[in-house]
């Protein structure tokens, strides 16, 4: 909120200054009057003084990292100013587009959005500008989204609560006789829990889809009484840090926070992680569509995409981009091997009702 106010104040000042200087000098009256031309290299955008982009993400440490890694350098380079909204949600994108009141230009979304199923809500991205062929193909860019950072859904464990035993993979997560204690699980049908049950049951990462929901539910029964559901990343961090759960499926960034910021006895088993991405999309009817495309192209281009990992353990999606050297061991992309699994996002979205029904059914039984 405070940042929003500051940006608004800066903007108001810029308008005043712009008007007065327009009377005395030959400078253009801001880019609103002169639309940005889509020419040149993705890493080398033109000046766009007077343009303000609104970026919606999930707030917190991640939004701060986006600001430091990409927004501030981009402002220095191009003059584009920023309004940040920390309440990104697929529902708000839909509400904005359907009501015709689109205020977001760039939206950070999870892997469950930006697919062909959502094309009525999104602008097709300008892949003449955005280097799609440099994107890690496992992260599934579509015509409407491009991956901007990678993270892993990993097996985290509290080294105190797991009594000195190290889980080696999801099989141990589903075996209370080997490591007793509670297990944290994201309460979201397509967040990975069925995949993890199947990986634990011996299914190879490449053979996960179509999901065998009955087999997964049967595997889940083994730990039904030990499951603690969490709804937000912050909760998972608290659960694993306090030792209330011995192990949790969680996002590696939150685990990193528990280890390095909360100084908790927590570690990550990278084996059998699910590697996924956050994506940038542009809502249909964004008032700054072209400037948004420019920024997205710049953020994912090889020279800039790795910068985010200076501030938060989320790695690059551009295969030519180098992550921050100090953070490299904490990035999910650094631990990719044959055991790594990937979500089949299109399958999960198309079959959501069926998968969700199975999850609700398992939970309520």
């Amino acid at each position: 909120m405070r940042r929003g106010m500051t940006v608004a104040a800066v903007l108001a000042a810029a308008v005043v200054v712009g008007c007065s200087s327009g009377a005395t000098g030959p400078e253009p009256q801001g880019a609103a009057a002169s639309p940005v031309k889509l020419t040149g290299d993705a890493c080398d955008p033109p000046r766009q003084d007077g343009v303000t982009l609104t970026l919606a993400a999930q707030g917190g440490a991640y939004q701060d990292a986006l600001t430091k890694a990409w927004e501030e350098p981009y402002t220095a380079l191009t003059g584009v100013e920023w309004i940040n909204d920390g309440n990104s949600s697929n529902a708000t994108v839909r509400a904005q587009v359907e009501s015709g009141q689109v205020t977001w230009d760039v939206v950070d979304v999870g892997s469950d959005f930006g697919l062909d199923a959502h094309k009525a809500l999104l602008e097709p991205l300008d892949f003449g500008l955005i280097p799609r062929d440099e994107m890690n193909p496992d992260l599934r860019a579509t015509d409407y989204r491009v991956p901007v950072m990678t993270y892993g859904t990993v097996l985290a464990y509290n080294t105190d609560a797991s009594t000195g035993k190290t889980p080696t993979g999801w099989a141990d997560f589903f075996d209370p006789s080997k490591i007793p204690g509670k297990r944290g699980v994201w309460d979201y049908a397509t967040g990975g829990i069925f995949e993890m049950a199947l990986l634990a049951d011996g299914v190879a990462p490449a053979d996960l889809y179509p999901l065998d929901l009955d087999r997964a539910a049967a595997k889940l029964d083994a730990i039904k009484d030990d499951i603690v559901l969490w709804g937000t990343g912050a909760e998972s961090r608290e659960l694993i840090g306090s030792g209330e759960v011995a192990m949790s499926m969680m996002w590696n960034g939150r685990t990193w926070g528990a280890i390095h910021e909360d100084n908790r006895p927590v570690d990550i088993q990278w084996n059998q992680q699910i590697l996924s991405a956050d994506y940038f999309v542009v809502p249909k009817g964004s008032p700054n569509r072209e400037a948004a495309m420019r920024f997205i192209a710049w953020a994912v281009c090889a020279a800039n995409n790795g910068a985010l990992s200076k501030y938060i353990p989320y790695g690059p999606t551009n295969v030519n981009s180098e992550p921050d050297a100090a953070m490299v061991d904490d990035l999910a992309v650094s631990h990719v091997d044959d055991s790594t699994a990937y979500f089949d996002d299109a399958y999960l979205v198309d079959h959501f009702d069926e998968i969700d029904a199975a999850w609700q059914d398992w939970k309520s039984r």
Binding site: S89, N90, A91, R94, D112, K182, D187, Y188, K224, I227, V228, L229, G231, E235, S242, G243, E244, F352, D353, D356, A357, Q360, D361, W362, K363, S364, R365
Partner: protein, 279 residues
């Protein structure tokens, strides 16, 4: 014919309710049968086809019932105490009831988590004293949900009961005693029947509010403690299936109205919601 011009004062409130309550409610009801465009009643049949949804619906009413009972068991004696003690102490008790109103629901729910979890305050205390050897399962269970919801909804039980109890003339009890009733009999045959409108008002308020809870069961409950609002939120926020979400909301509203209707047969609703004006 003279129109009371003071009646115009309710106009702003009426317009406000129309614009921000009735219209959206209609919009939602229409959406439940028009999204997807050929929906018809398919969103409704879909709800009843999945057994899990019915279990969640049943659970919603079950948790609301338990919460109402717990609030009544704590709230009635508390309200009675407020009428029995001197004014200054009654004021302190009133502040104690109102205090939760002034802090966020989310904060209170997290506070309960800190107190009730396995490594939390209460369990550490009990285990340090040697009273229990294993942590009691107070959180991620129905018990946790009931504790959290009762705490949040208690003021809605205490205040209506207290409002009715304080208007009961103490002379009635004295008269009953004069006529030979023991204190227990006087309470049972005089105070209790007279307080009934307040009790019913409190129960209805708590029950109806409890039906819509979702943060508290999500944070304090286990996998089996889902309430229907959680399903609705997921459809709205995650899957963007607003037609199905609207259908579930209409169903929740319909069941709630049905219960209010049955309750209105049993008691006069004006006793419950309008008793203040009858003196």
């Amino acid at each position: 014919m003279r129109v009371n011009r003071w009646a115009l004062l309710v106009l702003p409130a009426t317009l406000f309710l129309l614009a921000f309550f009735v219209v959206p409610l209609l919009d939602m009801s229409i959406r439940s049968v028009t999204e997807p465009p050929d929906a018809g009643l398919s969103n409704y049949t879909r709800f009843f086809e999945q057994e899990a949804n019915l279990r969640v619906l049943t659970n919603t009413f079950w948790i609301a019932t338990l919460t109402t009972l717990v609030c009544l068991l704590i709230g009635f004696p508390f309200a009675y105490l407020m009428t029995a003690v001197p004014g200054r102490i009654a004021g302190l008790l009133l502040i104690a009831v109102l205090l939760p109103f002034w802090s966020s629901l989310l904060v209170r729910t997290f506070a309960w988590q800190v107190i009730l979890r396995d490594t939390g305050l209460l369990n550490s205390f009990l285990m340090d004293l040697g009273l229990t050897r294993e942590p009691l399962p107070l959180v991620r269970t129905t018990t946790g949900v009931i504790i959290g919801m009762s705490h949040i909804l208690l003021p809605f039980m205490v205040l209506p009961i207290w409002a009715v109890l304080r208007r009961i003339d103490p002379e009635f009890s004295r008269a009953a005693a004069n006529l030979g009733a023991s204190p227990a009999t006087a309470f049972r045959r005089v105070v209790l029947p007279l307080s009934l409108p307040g009790v019913l008002a409190g129960c209805l308020l708590v029950f109806v509010l409890a039906l819509g809870f979702y943060i508290t069961p999500a944070l304090l409950g286990g996998p089996r403690d889902q309430m229907i609002s959680q399903l609705i939120v997921e459809q709205v926020q995650r899957t963007l299936d607003w037609g199905f979400a609207a259908a579930m909301s209409v169903l929740l509203m319909a069941f709630t109205l049905a219960i209010l209707f049955v309750a209105s047969r049993a008691v006069r609703v004006q006793d419950v919601f309008g008793s203040a004006g009858e003196e």
